[in-house]
Amino acid sequence: IFIIQIYNLLSSFQITHYKQYPPNISKVYSYFECRHKKGGQYNEVVFFGLQYLLKKYLAGRVVTEEKIQEAKVFYQMHFKQSVFDEEGWRKVLEKYDGRLPIRIKAVPEGKIIPRGNVLFTVENTDPDFFWLTNYIETMLLQMWYPITVATISREFKKILAKHLKATSGSLEGLDLKLHDFGYRGVSSQESAALGGAAHLVNFCSTDTVAGLLMAQRYYACPMAGFSIPAAEHSTIISWGKSREKDAFECLLDQFPSGPVAVVSDSYDIFKACKHIWGDKLKERVMERSEDSALIIRPDSGDPAETLIEVIKILEECFGCSQNSVGYKVLPSYLRIIQGDGIDLNSINEILEKLSDEGWSAENVFFGCGSALLQKINRDTLNCAFKCSYVETNGKGMDVYKQPVTDPSKGSKRGRLCLRRNSDGFIETVERGAGKPHEDMLVTVFENGTILQEYTLDEIRKAAQLWEEDVSPSEHNKEDDTSLEIHQKHIINGVH
C-alpha cells in the first residue's frame, strides 16, 4: 500500500524545523507575496488558485494514525535517522481530529494587486502548533503557478485588447482571441488543469480540457471554455503528399457548420493558401457562413512574416473590405490562427506589423502553448513565502530577513494588512499597524474549514481589464507614472 502524505507536503528539510525554532515559541506568522523587482516586467498580478489547494490538500481531516506511522518509517530511511515529529502530528490528530489548526487570510481571488504586496498570510491558531505554519510553506508556494499563468494570460489580453480596439473600434470577440494550446507542452496533467483554469480567468477558448474540469470541480463553472474542430498534421499528411487538397476538402465536408481550423503548412503553406484554398477549393470556402469560417493555420517559419505573407495571398485570392476605422478585413468566412512561436513579445510584434500593413486584428486568432503554461517559473513574479512575525515567551516580535548580498530579497516585517490608501493605491501595512476594517485580506481558511469561496464568474469579473489597459493613449500619462512612483515605495524592507 502506498500512501502519499505528510511527506508529500513539504520539502524534506522542513521536517526538521520544529527542533530549530527558539524555545517557548507559540506563534509563527508568515505571508506570501510576488516581490517587487526593479526593472521587472510585470507590475501587477492576478490572485488565483488558492481555493484549489485548500479544497484539494488542506481542508478537512488530513492525517490519520496510520499515516503518521508510515511517515515515521519513511523519514527514518530518508534521513537515516529519527527526525520526524511524531508527537506533534499525533496532537493534531487528537486535539483537532486531524484538521489543521491554521488560519489563512487572503486577497479575494481574481483581484489585481500591484507587485510587492501581501497576497495571503498564514498563522497557527493554537500555540502548540507553531511549527505548522511553515510546514505548509512548500505547498502554498506552488501558488506561484496559477498566479503567474493568470497574470501572463491577462498581459496577453491587454495587448490584444489594445490592438483590437485600435484596429476595429470594438472589443468584440476578445475573449476568444488567445487559445490555450499548452496541454502537450506542460509538465503534468495536474499542471495542465491548474494552468488551463488560470487561463480561463481571462479567456474562453482552450484545448486544455483538464482546465475545464478544474474550473467545474473547484470553481463552480459548468463549462468555462470552448473549442472548435481542427486538423493536425497527421490528419493531413495521412492522405499523402499529393492529396493535400483531398485532406482539406474532407475537413470542409466533415464540419460544414461551425468554424474549423486547418493546419496548412505540412509541405508549403504559401502554395496551400494560393493554389488549394485560394483556387481549387475557393468556392467551397466562399460557401461557408460567418459562423462557419475556415481558419487557416500556419505552423512554421517566422511567425510575423509568415502571417503577413499568408494574409496577402488570401487578400489576392479572396479580396477584403474596410471596417469602420479604416482597416482591412478578410471576408467573414475566412480567418487565420497563428499558434506557433507565440509569446508576449511575438504577439505584440505580429499585431504591430499587421496594423502597419493596414490589417485589422479581427483577422487573426492566436494559439499559445508553452509560453502560457510552461515557460514560466517562480522567479517570473518573484513569488516568496516568508515568516514576518513570531511570539516567544508571550511576546510578539517582528522578524525579517535582509541579506546584505541582495536587498531585493528582504522580507516584510510584523503582522500585515492590505488596504487601499487615500490616493486609491493598494498598499501593504506592516508591523501590525493596519486597521482591521481597512484590511482587504479575508479569512478563507480556519482550523480545517474553508470559510469563503469564489466562483469563476466572480473571479472573471474581478480580473477584467481596466479602461487604461484597453486605450492607453487616451489616459492621463500622469496616472501611469504615479503608479510607478508608488511602486518605488514598496521595495521590501525599505520604509
Partner: protein
C-alpha cells in the same frame, strides 16, 4: 501526492485516477470521470473524422528532434543525447487496464457537446472499445529501454493501433504521451550537470566520491503542481541521490520499484524562518541551537539572513568555531549562502572559511576545508552557473570536494518541450489496405521535417545508433530492433526497475574519458 489530504475511499493516491480532480463522492458537479476521455487536446476529439476513408491503421512515433542551429547561434549546452525516462509512469497511471465505462462515455459526450457547441465526440468508437475490449486500449507501444541514453534525432517509441476500427486511437493518446517530454528533459538536463560535476570533481580531487550527492533537488516549491514534482524529482533521481522533493521517491516506489528502501536522501537543514524567528540580534543563538540539535548527522544552515560574510567570519569562524571543530567527517556543518552573485559569493565564503579553519592540500594540489565543514550553494544554480562556479573554484585552486549544489527551478521547472525539440508525429498509415509512408516537411523550416514509414532503432557495427525508416529494419541487416513492446491492448508487457533505469543512464567510461581530455 495528496495522500495526506485525500478524502474518500478507494482512490488512487497520486492525484486520483487520471480523471484528475473529480472526486465522485464529494462533488455534486463532478461529471467527467472517464480516464482516457479528457487527457487530450480538444481538437483531437474531432480527428477521427479527418483521416482518409478506409484508414485502418495509424502509426506514429516520438523523438527528440535534432536541431541544426546556425554556426553563429551556438548554444552553450548542446544536449546531444537524451535520457529516455517516464513512459512507464504514463502507461501505469493513464493507459493501462479498463479506461472507460458506459457512464463515462455518456458524460464525455455531454461535456464535449457543451465545449464544442456541437456533437463531435466519437461515441461509436468508444463504445466499440468498451464492448470489444472491455474498455482496454487496442494500441501497441514499442520503446527504447528506460534510462537509455540515445542521440538526438532517433526514434524513442512508436505507437500503432491494433484494431482497424480504432485507427483514430493512435492520435487520441498523443497529448498524454507527449508529456513524456518533461521527465526526459529533467533527466537529461540533470545528467548533463552530472557530467560537469564529474569532470571538475575528478580534476580537483582525483576521485568521483560523493558525486551522487553533489546536486540536491530543491525544486518542490518551484514546480507547477504536486504531480509535476513527483515526475520531475524522480527523473533527477535517475542520476543523483540527494533530494528534498519526496514526491519523486513516491513515484519511483509506486511505478518503478527499487531494491533499496528509498532511492533518495536528505539532511536536516535550516531555513530563514528558523533563523529569523530568533530575532536579528540572536543569529548566533539560532545557529548554536540548531547545530546542537543535530550533532551526529550533516546539518545545513542558511547563513545569509542578514550578512553572510559576517556570519562566516564572526559566528562560524570565531564564536562557534569550537563547536564545529568537534564534529565528525560524517556530520559536517554545511554553510549555505542564499543570495548575491553565486560565483562571487561562493568564492568569498570559501576564502573567509579558509582563513578561519585549517586548510589541507589534496593529492591534486587543491585546497580542501577540514572535513567537519562544507558549503552548499542552492541559489541561482542552473547548468550554466554550475559550470561557472566549478570553473571559478578550480581557477582559485579550490577542490570541488568542498561544495555541494542545490537546484530548484532550473532543475524541475525552467524547462520546455522546445529544449530537446520533443515531437510526436504520424509516419505511416494503411488506407484501402495499402501502407503509405507519410511525413511533414514545411518549406519554411527543415528542422520540423518528420520521419517516414515504419521505424526501428539499431546499433551500427561501430556502436552508434541509427533509426531506420520506411520499414527498412525488416531487412535484418542491422540486427535487432532496440525498441521493445512495452504495452499492448491495455496491458503493460515489459517494465523496468529504477535500478535498471539508473544503470542504463550511468556515466560511461568513455564519456568520463572525453570529459577529462
Amino acid at each position: 501526492m495528496n495522500g495526506l489530504f485525500q478524502k474518500g475511499e478507494g482512490l488512487q493516491t497520486l492525484v486520483g485516477p487520471p480523471l484528475l480532480l473529480l472526486h465522485k463522492d464529494s462533488c455534486p458537479l463532478g461529471k467527467l470521470e472517464g480516464k482516457k476521455l479528457h487527457e487530450i487536446c480538444s481538437s483531437s476529439v474531432t480527428h477521427y473524422k479527418q483521416y482518409p476513408p478506409n484508414t485502418s491503421k495509424v502509426y506514429s512515433y516520438f523523438e527528440c528532434r535534432e536541431k541544426k542551429t546556425e554556426p553563429t547561434k551556438l548554444r552553450k549546452v548542446k544536449y546531444d543525447k537524451t535520457v529516455f525516462y517516464g513512459l512507464q509512469y504514463i502507461l501505469h497511471r493513464y493507459l493501462k487496464g479498463q479506461v472507460v465505462t458506459r457512464e463515462k462515455i455518456q458524460e464525455a459526450k455531454e461535456v464535449y457537446r457543451e465545449h464544442f457547441q456541437d456533437d463531435v465526440f466519437n461515441e461509436k468508437g468508444w463504445n466499440y472499445i468498451l464492448e470489444k475490449y472491455n474498455g482496454h486500449l487496442p494500441i501497441e507501444i514499442k520503446a527504447v529501454p528506460e534510462g537509455s541514453v540515445i542521440p538526438r534525432g532517433n526514434v524513442l517509441f512508436t505507437v500503432v493501433s491494433t484494431d482497424p476500427e480504432c485507427y483514430w486511437l493512435t492520435n487520441w493518446v498523443e497529448t498524454i504521451l507527449v508529456q513524456i517530454w518533461y521527465p526526459i528533459t529533467v533527466a537529461t538536463n540533470s545528467r548533463e550537470q552530472k557530467k560537469i560535476l564529474a569532470k571538475y570533481l575528478m580534476e580537483t580531487s582525483g576521485s568521483l566520491e560523493g558525486l551522487e550527492y553533489k546536486l540536491h533537488d530543491f525544486g518542490y516549491r518551484g514546480v507547477s503542481s504536486q504531480e509535476t514534482a513527483g515526475i520531475g524529482a524522480s527523473a533527477h533521481l535517475v542520476n543523483f541521490k540527494g533530494t528534498d522533493t519526496v514526491a519523486g521517491i513516491c513515484v519511483i516506489k509506486k511505478y518503478y520499484g527499487t531494491k533499496d528502501p528509498v532511492p533518495g536522501f536528505s539532511v536536516p537543514a535550516a531555513e530563514h524562518s528558523t533563523i529569523t524567528a530568533w530575532g536579528k540580534d540572536h543569529e548566533k543563538d539560532a545557529f548554536e541551537h540548531i547545530i546542537k540539535q543535530f550533532p551526529s548527522v550533516p546539518v545545513s544552515i542558511v547563513s545569509d539572513s542578514y550578512d553572510i560574510y559576517n556570519a562566516c567570519e564572526k559566528i562560524w569562524g570565531e564564536d562557534l568555531r569550537g563547536l564545529i571543530e568537534m564534529r565528525s567527517a560524517d556530520a559536517p556543518l554545511v554553510v549555505r549562502p542564499d543570495s548575491g552573485n553565486p560565483l562571487d559569493t561562493v568564492l568569498k565564503v570559501l576564502e573567509i572559511l579558509g582563513k578561519k579553519f585549517p586548510l589541507v592540500e589534496n593529492s591534486k594540489g587543491y585546497k580542501v576545508l577540514p572535513p567537519y565543514i562544507r558549503v552548499i550553494q542552492g541559489d541561482g544554480v542552473d547548468i550554466n552557473t554550475l559550470q561557472e562556479i566549478v570553473e571559478g573554484m578550480k581557477e582559485h585552486r579550490w577542490s570541488i570536494e568542498n561544495i555541494a549544489f542545490g537546484s530548484g527551478g532550473a532543475l524541475l521547472q525552467k524547462l520546455t518541450r522546445d529544449l530537446l525539440n520533443c515531437s510526436f508525429k504520424c509516419s505511416y498509415v494503411v488506407t484501402n489496405g495499402l501502407g503509405v509512408n507519410v511525413f511533414k516537411d514545411p518549406v519554411a523550416d527543415p528542422n520540423k521535417r518528420s520521419k517516414k514509414g515504419r521505424l526501428s532503432l539499431h546499433r551500427t557495427p561501430s556502436g552508434d545508433f541509427v533509426t531506420l525508416e520506411e520499414g527498412k529494419g525488416d531487412l535484418e541487416e542491422y540486427g535487432e530492433d532496440l525498441l521493445h513492446t512495452v504495452f499492448r491492448n491495455g496491458k503493460i508487457v515489459k517494465t523496468y526497475t529504477f535500478d535498471e533505469v539508473r544503470d542504463n543512464a550511468k556515466l560511461k567510461e568513455s564519456e568520463l574519458e572525453d570529459l577529462l581530455l
